[in-house]
Amino acid sequence: MRVTVIDYKAGNLTSVLKTLRHLGAETVVTDDDLTLVESAERIVLPGVGHFAATERLDATGLTGAIRSGVARGVPFLGICVGMQWLYAGSSEAPQQPGLGHFSESCTRFAESQEKVPHVGWNSLEVRPVNGIASRLLAGVEPGEFVYFTHSYKGPVTADTAAVTHYIEPFAAAVERGNVMGVQFHPEKSGETGLKILRNFLAWQAKGTVC
């Protein structure tokens, strides 16, 4: 199992790589070598940091290569800002477009008494996506906890695979076919996170998750 992990110089890849390898995946890291994306079996787009950093994906041609990969049916997982990039954009960097796979945009948590960023372990409410059980979150029981650290989030829509509540309900996970995203950090979320990454590594275009 080979996973192409995209490096766009936004944050630290070590934890994601280490966890994928722990689960038996072979990892390749790419920044601007598009052939590694064109031949990818699976793509992971990590991300901690600012949405503006995704500009590098456009500058290096990665956006187009990823778009083609996604269209070919390559399983794709975006983590944190990597998930937010799947939307049309984010109010964090209004001038920078996302992939637009999901038509909505990400926004900052509303002003309230609560602290922003949202940091720590919060629970998942897994729900069917477009009427189908989430494959990414298969086996995740109600109320299982995962680790978040973010100030912006995606809205709850028909593509939302899990909802988390903080200040307001938001999309903790999103899924449509081979395109998946998680707002939390599965590589830092203990056994629950490992289970979710295993589901991603086992994802097949046809049939069910093994």
């Binding site: 720590g120 650290t149 973010h150």
Partner: protein, 259 residues
Amino acid sequence: MLTKRIIACLDVHAGRVVKGVQFVDLVDAGDPATQAARHAKEGADEIVLLDITATHEGRQTLLDTVRRTARDLFVPFCVGGGIKSARDAEQVFEAGADKVSINSAALADPTLISAIGSSFGAQAVVVAIDARRDPKAADPVRGAQVYVHGGRRPVGRTVVEWAREAEQRGAGEILLTSMDSDGTRAGFDCELTAAVSEAVSIPVIASGGAGTVAHFVDVFTRGKADAALAASIFHFGVSTSRSLKEELAEVGVPVRLPC
């Protein structure tokens, strides 16, 4: 619901976990990688590894320790001690840390906070503050002073003001240690923790003084802490994060359970 975090802290010297009273009479408490894995298994929400004797010669030992500790650890992992530059931080991240904790180096050069944050994200920068109440101030809590060198030397600024500046400069979290409470096992400084927590929007991790479950209840409610650090109460199998969290849950503190 967002839960309150219990963070297990490992003090490390020359590649070994050590435990002492006020940094003297150090007792060997095991291998950091083994201890970190055990704490994670026993329900800790996060692990902090502090290189308490951080020396230049010891950097490679520390990086090796971080590498070994991170290998099979799948909860957030913060490393502190002796990080003086963005390059030092980068090496610690490459070894597998998710966050770095910086203290005196940030006071000496506050631009270090944004220098690390711009490459690794604000969530990766924890600014540690060693604090003492100022009994001479009109308000000893609001007037609490920042100390360096293990609490021996005041730097001449208040804790609340420095915490605010750290946040503005892009810190992701504040690790607040009360030097008055540290090592006493008589409870956290809840008034000071609340003063800092109310002054900033980023999470505040309370440290110093943990002795009983009631102390944690207190710091999460009255102290408005987002997380609490525990070191000595977990050593030598005295208690586990899981049992601590079960007791916290019973009195209504939101915690990650089962874990």
